[in-house]
Subunit: 522 residues, 2 copies
Amino acid sequence: MAVLEKNELVLNAAGRMVPESVNGGLQTPFMGAGKYRPQGRKASPPVRTAADYPENGDKRVADLETALRKCGLRDGMVISSHHHLRDGDRVALMALEAAARIGVRNLMWFPSASFPSQADAIKLMESGVIDHIEGSMNGPLGDYCTQGKMRGMGVLRSHGGRWQAIQDGEVHIDIAVIAAPTADPFGNCDGSHGKSACGSLGFALADSTYADHVIAVTDNLVPFPCIPWQIQGNNVDYVVEVESIGDPTKIVSGTTQITRSPDRLRIAEFVAQFLRDAGIMCNGFSFQAGAGGIALAFVGYLKQMMKDAGVKARFVRGGSTKYLVELLEEGLTDYILDGQTFDLDGVRSLANNVCHVATSPFTSYNYHGKGNFASMVDAVVLGATEVDTNFNANVVTHSDGRLLHGIGGWQNCLAAGCTILAVPSFRDRIPVIVDQVTTLCGPGELIDVIVTERGIAINPRRQDLIDAVKGSKLPIRPLPDIKGEVERICGGKPQRPRAGERPVAVVKWVDGTVLDTVWQVP
Amino acid sequence: MAVLEKNELVLNAAGRMVPESVNGGLQTPFMGAGKYRPQGRKASPPVRTAADYPENGDKRVADLETALRKCGLRDGMVISSHHHLRDGDRVALMALEAAARIGVRNLMWFPSASFPSQADAIKLMESGVIDHIEGSMNGPLGDYCTQGKMRGMGVLRSHGGRWQAIQDGEVHIDIAVIAAPTADPFGNCDGSHGKSACGSLGFALADSTYADHVIAVTDNLVPFPCIPWQIQGNNVDYVVEVESIGDPTKIVSGTTQITRSPDRLRIAEFVAQFLRDAGIMCNGFSFQAGAGGIALAFVGYLKQMMKDAGVKARFVRGGSTKYLVELLEEGLTDYILDGQTFDLDGVRSLANNVCHVATSPFTSYNYHGKGNFASMVDAVVLGATEVDTNFNANVVTHSDGRLLHGIGGWQNCLAAGCTILAVPSFRDRIPVIVDQVTTLCGPGELIDVIVTERGIAINPRRQDLIDAVKGSKLPIRPLPDIKGEVERICGGKPQRPRAGERPVAVVKWVDGTVLDTVWQVP
C-alpha cells in the first residue's frame, strides 16, 4: 500500500468525482441505487481441522501478543475489530499496540467504527504500524484523515456495506480481534453479560465468520458453554483473558439522552405526528429510530400516540435504548430487533427478554443477500449533517469538509418504506439545508421526508405521502422555502470549503460502488 | 452420473478395500484417525443482491413446483432435505415428486437422513428421477441400495461429515428444501413451534448456508419476524405454504421409550455404574446419550446416582428427550445442548427454556472446523450393530450385509473423553461381538468401553480407565471372553455374508476420507 497512488478520477451516476482505484484496488463508480449487479461467489475462509485445536476445547493463550504471533501476524495484514464497546473499547488499541511491539508495519485497521478514545491510533499511523483505516472514523481519526495525513485512503462503509465488503471478498480480514464481555475457553462469546456488557455483538459476526484467524478477548471467562453464543467458538482460534476490555462508563454511551432543546423536541413531535397522520402508525407497523436526542424524543411522542390510538407495533428496530425497551415491556411492540445496544436497560432487556432479539448486519442490512430487514421497516427516523434541495444527504462530513462521523446503518436504513431525516434547520448558525451536500452519503431518490423545526418537506417523488397528509395540520412546506428562511436567519448560505484536490477517503454505497469522495481539507 | 463406473479398489489404512472414485469423484482413502489434512478454502454460495428479492420481504410462491422452477431446477441437480421430522416428514418426497412432475431426471437426493416412510423414493429411482441418494438410508431405502438397484453409489456420512462435505465443497447443493414447522414470509424458520413442531432445525443449517437456492416449506406461517429464527430468511429464496409438512404422530418418534428388556436394563445400569465408579460422574462433567432404549434407561440410572452423590453436570448432549429435560428441570445439569429433539417434552423445553440450547453439526461435530463440541464431552453412550475384538464397530449394516441404518452423529461422538458402546451381546441369536465387523464405521482406537449384559470390556489402550475402575464391583472382562461365551450360547459365530463383489455404498470418515465399502448383497 504505502503512499497514495495517483488517482484518476471519474464521474459517477450521482454526478460525483470518485477515484478509479483505492488503496491499489480497482473500484466500481456508483451506478444508481439498485443498478449494480454483483458477480461471483462469496469469500471463503480456509478449511481447518479439529486435529489442530485442543481436544478439551481450551483455546486460551497467555496474551494478545502470543495470540497474534500464533495467527502469523506479518506486515501489511488486515486486523479487524468491532465497536460494540463504543468509546469505552480498550481491545482494538490493545491489539494494535501488541502488533506494534511485535514490530509489524503497514497494517490495515478495519474497525466497524473507531472512536475518539482510540485517537492513539494516530501515533501508530505516524510510526508506520498502521497504514490506513477502513471504517467509520468518529472525531479525531476522521479529522486526521481529512488533514491528508493518513498514508492510505480511508474507506467509509455502512454497517451493511461492511458485511457486503467482507462477504464479497472486497476486504479480506487476516486477523479478527473480538472484544467479548463474556466468553468460554472454546471461544463462544456473548455480549449481554459480564462487567463490560454491551449487548449484541452482531458487528463482529462477519469478522468471526470470514476472517482467516479469530481471537476472542474477554474479561469474563465462564466455563464452557457460554450461553448464549452470538459468536461461535467454532470460528475462534485463540482466547485471551485480560483484566478489562473496556471502560463500562463509556461502553454505555452518553448519546441516549433525550434532547432538551425546544426546537429539537418540536422536530421529534413533528416526526411522530407525521407517522400518525400519514397512516403509517397502524397495528402491526414497524419503525426504526436511532439513539440521537431527537430520535429518542420521537419515540416518547410516538409512544403516547400509539397508546392514545390503541396501536401496537409488530417490531421496532434500534440501536436499543430504554425508550424502546419500555415499548416492549408495556406491550406496545411484539419485538425489538436490536442492531446494537445503547444503554443498560437495553443490555438488561436483551439478556432477559426473548422478544428482544440480537440481529446482525447480515440479517438487517446486507444488500448482497437474499433481501434484508431494512426494506421491511415501515418508517425510519435518521439524522444528517446536511441535506440539499434534491433531498440528497450527508452524514459523515461537516460543511467545512472535515470528516467527523461514521455512516453506521444510515445508508442501509434508506431502504425503509418511509425514510425521514429529522434535522434542525441550522446548527451553530450554519444552515443544514444546502445547495449541494459536501459529501453525498444518501441519494435523494431514497429520502422521503425532511423534518425541521420550521416545517416538513416531502420529496416530490412521494406523491403518496403528500396525499396521505393532505388536510392534516402538519406544517408541510417545500424544501426551498425552508432553506430560504434559514439562510435569512443565518445571514446566507454556508461557506463552501475550499475545493481540495486530493481524495483522502471514499464513501461506498451499500453495494460496494463508490458514491463520493472525501477531499483533503487544504 | 448414470451407471456405476468400474471402480478400482484400494486398501485404506484401516485395512479395508474402498473405491478410488465414487459417483465420478476421486476419493481419498481413510488414512487413520486425525491423519488427513484438508487443503483449500470453504465452499461459497453465489453473491446475491437484494434488488432481486421483494422489498416487502414476502418471498411466498404458490407451490413447490413453482419454487423449484424459479430455482432453475434441471437434470442432474442436487436436492437436499433435512430429517428433523423423521419418519413423519412429508416435505422431502413432496419436493422430489414435484421435480418428477417438472420432468427432470438423474437428481441426487441429499437428505440428512431418509426414513421408511420415504420408501416411495424407490419409485423415483426406478423411473430415473433420482439417480442416487447420498445420506443415511434407514430401512427400505438402505435395503434397496444393498440389493444393488440404485444407479449411483450411496455415500454414508455422519452428521458432522455431512457438514464437512458441504462446507468443503465435496457436495454442492443446488436446491435445499427445508421443512419448517414455523416460518415467516421472509423465510426465517423455527422448529420448536407449530402443529408440526420438531425442535431444533440444526441439520438444515449447512444446507441453508451453502446451497445455491433455498426453499422453506411451512404449515405454520407467522407474520415477520418468526422468532427465534434458527434458519435465517436472508439465506432463503422462496417460501411455500402447504397444508401439512408432516405427520405429528411420527415426527416425535417412538424411539424415546425406555427399554423393558431386563438384559438391556442391566446394560444401562452397568454403563451408569461405570461412569460413577471410573470417576467420570463428578461435578461439572458432561455426557451425551442418544434416544435408544438402553441410552434412555442409562440416563434414568445415572440421574439417581447423581442425586445420591450430589453431583451436577455442566451440560448434557442429546437427542433430547424427557429424560434429559428432567435433568435440566431438576437442576442436575446447567444446560442441554440439543442436536435434535426427540419427544414433546424436548420440544417444549427447547421452546421455553433458555438453558435448552439448539446446536448444529457445525458447533457439535464438524471435524473441519476450529474444534467442535464432541471432543469436549466427558462420556458418550452409543449403540452398534456389531463390534469386533479390536473394538472396531459397525452401525450401518447387519451381519447379513444389509444396509439398514444411518450413522447419525455416532462417528463424531467417538471423539468424547470416554466412548462407551452399550450393546446386547447378541440379537436374534446372532452374536454382536464378531471377529471382524461387516462394515467398519468406527476405528477401535477411538472406542473405549463395550458394555454388554454379560460384562464390561475396556479397550487395552485405555489403561487409565482400567486403573480407574480397579477394585470396583463392575464385571470387567476381556472382550474375547465375552465373545466366547456368546458364541457358545448362540451356537457359533454369525454367518458371514457371501462376499459381494460390487460396491454399492461407501462409509465416509469424519474427515471425508473413505473408511469402508458396503457391498451388494448377492
